[in-house]
Subunit: 406 residues, 2 copies
């Protein structure tokens, strides 16, 4: 059961984006496991990808293609991650692009492949290629919901966000989907995110906007610290709703777009945490008062990754010593613990490095029993801050990932 409201909003059509889906039988029957995005000519596209050294074949190919061309198509399959598949995997990813390029009369380098699912098995190439034409046949502007469902693996709910905003009197749309959190064997977790807008934005700024917003959204969530081999996030600006291209970060419209994109990316990222494996709580870890954002981030992740903190939260147990310990072993140099304050929402649990005098376990337990809470840490030595989002660690996390096979 996801935490909080994760329902799909009205998914506004983005001018210049069409989406097709098909049943390619990659792994399962009776599901649309193949999704194709088509971008209008002139669309500027940017991507960010996993840092995992064992990154999957489609990640290699997507990065290479993005380097030389502006993509016109994205192909996404679930059921098979095409990771740990060596040279054959690379070839299969390239072949998929080539086939779609042929069918759609574009260059193969204008197609980006994405895969999510089982790791270490070769793609069922024939079935995948056979699915491309049916997917193309189904292209439609109003299929964001189908796409959100199509890219799911073990997600329990499709994930989407959509907004309309105005720049200089023109109404633009931004719509996006994401998936992730499912790691039931034989699947490998993959976080995927796709966001498009019909606003006109230069390619350089599309990349800048994506990088900037990924760093406060997808790069700030963690469920279990396991970085996938396939993580990818794409942002596309079609420019099809008209207006003059935004080509400078000084343009006042840039700030508006950044604001909308930031909100959307955070929502899409947080939806993944809310649907985290076995998650029963949604936790914001906000660290402030640091010298720099790196140390804020290090401490936030140390708390967010601590199995002891996560199990305590699962149990609604205000075991604040575990939070202090996680701060202490984050590896931040010269930390003066006597300057550290910690709050659970509005309840101060730690004052100047020790137990807050007026803290009561009843107050701590009250916050801990909520479905959503913020752990706030003030390091008391600077003005930097950063925030990470995570969930608790429950029996179901172990159950899902231990996957007793019958």
């Amino acid at each position: 059961m996801p935490v909080g409201d994760v329902s799909m909003p009205q998914m506004h059509v983005v001018k210049g984006v069409r989406i097709g889906t098909a049943e390619a039988y990659v792994r399962y029957q009776n599901r649309r496991d193949l999704v194709i995005f088509e971008f209008a000519e002139g669309t500027n596209v940017a991507g960010v990808f996993t840092q995992n050294a064992f990154c999957a074949a489609p990640v290699h190919v997507s990065k290479a293609h993005l380097h030389v061309a502006n993509p016109r198509y994205l192909i996404i399959n679930t059921g098979n991650a095409n990771a740990g598949t060596g040279k054959t995997g690379m070839l299969n990813a390239e072949r998929t692009c080539a086939k779609l390029a042929e069918l759609a009369s574009v260059q193969a380098t204008e197609v980006l492949p994405f895969s999510t699912g089982v790791i270490g098995e070769q793609l069922p190439l024939e079935r995948l290629l056979n699915g491309l034409q049916p997917a193309l046949n189904s292209l439609s502007a109003d299929a964001w919901g189908a796409a959100a469902t199509g890219i799911m693996t073990t997600d329990t709910t499709p994930k989407g966000a959509s907004e309309q905003f105005e720049l200089d009197g023109v109404t633009y749309t931004m719509t996006g989907i994401s998936k992730g959190a499912g790691m039931i064997r034989p699947n490998m977790a993959t976080m995927l995110g796709y966001v498009a807008t019909d606003a006109p934005i230069s390619r350089e700024l599309v990349q800048q906007l994506l990088s900037e917003t990924v760093n406060v959204s997808f790069n700030r969530i963690t469920i279990d610290g396991d970085t996938s081999t396939n993580d990818s996030c794409i942002f596309a600006a079609t420019g099809q709703a008209g207006g003059v291209e935004i080509s400078s970060a000084q343009d006042a419209r840039y700030t508006v777009v950044l604001d909308v994109l930031t909100r959307m990316m955070k929502r899409l990222a947080q939806l993944i945490v809310r649907d985290g494996e076995g998650a029963t709580k949604f936790i914001t870890v906000a660290v402030e008062g640091g010298y720099d954002t790196q140390e804020c981030c290090d401490i936030a992740y140390s708390i967010a990754h601590s199995p002891l903190v996560k199990t305590a939260i699962f149990a609604s147990d205000p075991n604040w010593g575990r939070i202090l310990a996680a701060i202490g072993y984050a590896g931040v140099k010269n930390l003066d613990v006597e300057k550290i304050q910690v709050w659970l929402d509005d309840v101060q649990i730690c004052k100047d490095g020790g137990a807050a005098a007026d803290y009561t376990e009843a107050e701590g337990a009250r916050v801990m029993s909520q479905a959503e809470m913020t752990i706030r840490v003030d390091l008391g030595r600077g003005a930097a801050k950063d925030t990470v989002y995570t969930c608790d660690l429950s029996y179901d996390y172990v159950k899902i990932n231990a996957d007793y096979r019958s």
Copy 2:
């Protein structure tokens, strides 16, 4: 249930070491929760302590005392970690030392305090002080077993190792105990280790021996990645079995002692993993072929900390993609995945970065179903290697740490 044989061996007496225990009622009734070690005059003692910035009051005091004197007494209490206790905690640790010093007619700086148990509560100082004289009254050379039991928190079994060895015709003894793995709230995990020998070793070499062996034993185990606030390990050489003091690492006897101590420290450290919370498997992660030990260590820990790898092992599921992913996100620079080989015991699962051609899931499952296994990774780019020991992640880990309070 601990994994494998964790039974206590015959605990040989170490000349120059006496141990006393008492019921101090720190937290629970009817248990000897106070342990005192007495070292003969002239004993050389070394200590290593947690790197956690939120380290406990007794860690601060022990480090300070070790800096100015050679300890004659150790005081260890369970039930309360005296961590997150601020200035009062420091004062209480000092008072405990001062009281014992008074009773035993030594300097307060010749006493080291150690605490393990609940975090964030003040020590019940009166009860602790009242337990010191009874503990002193019970001092005996033959109480290592009682000490191993006395320092337990949520350990399911006492942990000890003991060996006799010969140097230049003289028989010496080395005996040690450890505790750790218990984190049931309201306790905070604390790893403690105490090893003593009656061989004559200079203080400088005692420290060198301890540092060297801790780095291949206690510093190479992980259960959940949560570094405690109280971890401490002490090595003492009383010299009471006679012989000429070993004062140079070039002395052939040094190598013998190093060998015995290494074996003992590894055993004491591994006992903690075998008794890890909810552990059903004991896992050795051996990484070789690296440029340096740091990168071997980083990758070994990345595997050993991965909840996905640990749950897969719990389920006896040869989900090797999770191991590859953990190698890939360890943050090692310029890793050439095509040079990487991975084995589960004797079964090669990954060859040159992809699935090994002759690997079968049946073979993988055979190894995975064992109570003990080695994950071996060859990075294929150097001669460095390192090894880390860990356990799986089971329902019981969550159960123990989520601690549903009735």
